[in-house]
Symmetry: C2
Subunit: 305 residues, 2 copies
């Protein structure tokens, strides 16, 4: 069995053309730049506006990366959907292409659903996908999906599908939940990725596998450095520096802020576009974000353009 994916992954933001369609060429370039900065590709995630993309658009983005020769061993595409046929189709494509894993949201339309219902959903997802090579990373993001993934549900799924339930992205923003996952499943073959680099160093100290973080879109090299040198003397200083940059981005709507930074440093206004229901930052917000970042010594000077 192939080695499990570890390290820092980016939920790659999606560039849109003037007519609103995905700019596949820019998307591939951005992924290649992230890879050159040692960051894996959790594309089609929340920060990718994946739920604002049709199934066909999502399949096309996967194809574009594969056709460009990007290694599927670096890929963990989002394949979750409210409906099983769509989630199965995306997961099947990812598994057959050799992707390291898939990041799967729970179905998020109905609220207050039971763990039994979610267990059935993930069971059907795995069984209908029907690929032994499928590695499922559960996606716990209650601030957005509202529907969360409990520790008991993780345990039940791990017992039933020990080879295929590979880990979790914990975007609860609650370190206690991340720590509970790390503790309860430490003797299982189960990898925990916090959903923000602010927990990276602490997670690595407790056996975490890395992180999957919005700001890995813009600050990949520095985040990877913490992953690569977490046992060194400088690790805490590096982590503190990550936290300062993250704090600036977090004080704006995250997805438009990430795109503003990429747009600014690539000199390409197209990158600022988002799909409804999101809206771009105002000009004033764009200006103050870039000023704050520059004042903190941040730049993306090596960005592809």
């Amino acid at each position: 069995m192939a080695q499990r994916i570890r390290g820092v992954l980016s939920p790659v933001v999606t560039p849109f053309q003037k007519d609103g369609t995905v700019n596949l060429e820019k998307f591939v370039n951005q992924c290649q730049w992230l890879q050159a900065n040692d960051v894996g590709l959790a594309f089609l995630g929340t920060n990718s506006e994946a739920n604002s993309l049709s199934l066909d658009e999502r399949l096309d983005m996967m194809d574009a990366l594969l056709e460009a020769g990007v290694s599927p061993a670096a890929m963990m595409p989002g394949t979750g959907a409210c409906d099983l046929p769509t989630a199965v189709r995306l997961s099947q494509k990812a598994a057959r292409a050799g992707c390291a894993g898939v990041l799967t949201l729970p179905p998020f339309y109905y609220k207050g659903v039971s763990d039994e219902g979610l267990f059935r959903y993930f069971s059907e997802l795995i069984e209908r996908t029907g690929e032994d090579s499928l590695r499922v990373y559960l996606y716990h993001i209650p601030p957005v999906a509202q529907v969360g993934i409990s520790l008991d549900l993780v345990g039940r799924l791990l017992d039933r599908y020990p080879g295929q339930i590979a880990g979790i992205k914990d975007s609860s923003g609650d370190w206690n939940n991340t720590l509970a996952l790390l503790t309860r499943f430490k003797d299982r073959d189960f990898d925990v990725f916090p959903g923000s680099e602010v927990f990276l160093l602490e997670a690595l100290r407790h056996g975490g596998a890395g992180c999957i973080s919005a700001t890995a879109n813009v600050n990949p090299a520095a985040i990877h450095r913490v992953f690569a040198s977490w046992q060194s003397d400088e690790a805490q200083d590096l982590q503190d520096s990550l936290d300062r940059i993250r704090g600036i981005f977090q004080s704006y709507p995250m997805i438009p802020a990430l795109k503003t930074a990429i747009s600014h440093w690539s000199g390409d206004p197209e990158w600022a576009r988002v799909r409804p229901p999101l809206v771009e930052l105002t000009e004033a917000q764009q200006g103050s974000l870039i000023n704050e970042l520059k004042s903190a010594g941040f730049s993306m000077s090596d960005l592809n353009s």
Copy 2:
């Protein structure tokens, strides 16, 4: 311009076969039975588990009704989706088929989105659909979608698209919100449908257009009777009777409870099936639901089987 649809509509529940696929024949039969009971077809709604269905499955259900000769003038399919391409595709099909309208959820993945972002979403939906005959009924269901539709957003959309924004389904469960909609837009060409028949009589007294209600799946004739005779002396008694039946269904998870009733009175166990993340009622729940309904004098003895 055709007359606007009014009256009682049912968010038709979706029958699933043993392999989990939609049973189109049973679906068409059920729609025909509802029509024979004077109830319109708001299929592909929340109670239809529409968000648990793929785009192709939804298109196939629309085709099945049209091919069976069901009148599109009685149809208000749900066409909302988190992504615009899917919502546009469904809305275009419905408008071109001559459906009375489409019921459109807001994009419901991202939370805390702005009215500006939602305005852009509905604008793009209408403009990309590109059909003058499109009649959009906004779907306000904050207990499920979390993302709601504010009165200001309705006003802004009505100002911009006065011909195409036709009304709203208010499933807030908050009579004050329904009343505010009825009051504020009473001089506009805008139809308000409460999302439950418990508000039917009161809504009609304030100029409402009818209702679109889960329990119209099981109690269509009685609900229609209130609509047809709301100015008569017996209207309040009829309404009270509706409320008693609704109260019984509401004390169980609604969708599995509706399917249990249909399954029981049609003698067809297939009707009880739901898709994950929903789960069927337990046997004990099924038994007590049917007993309570029978004790209240309820039956669906005229059901197709």
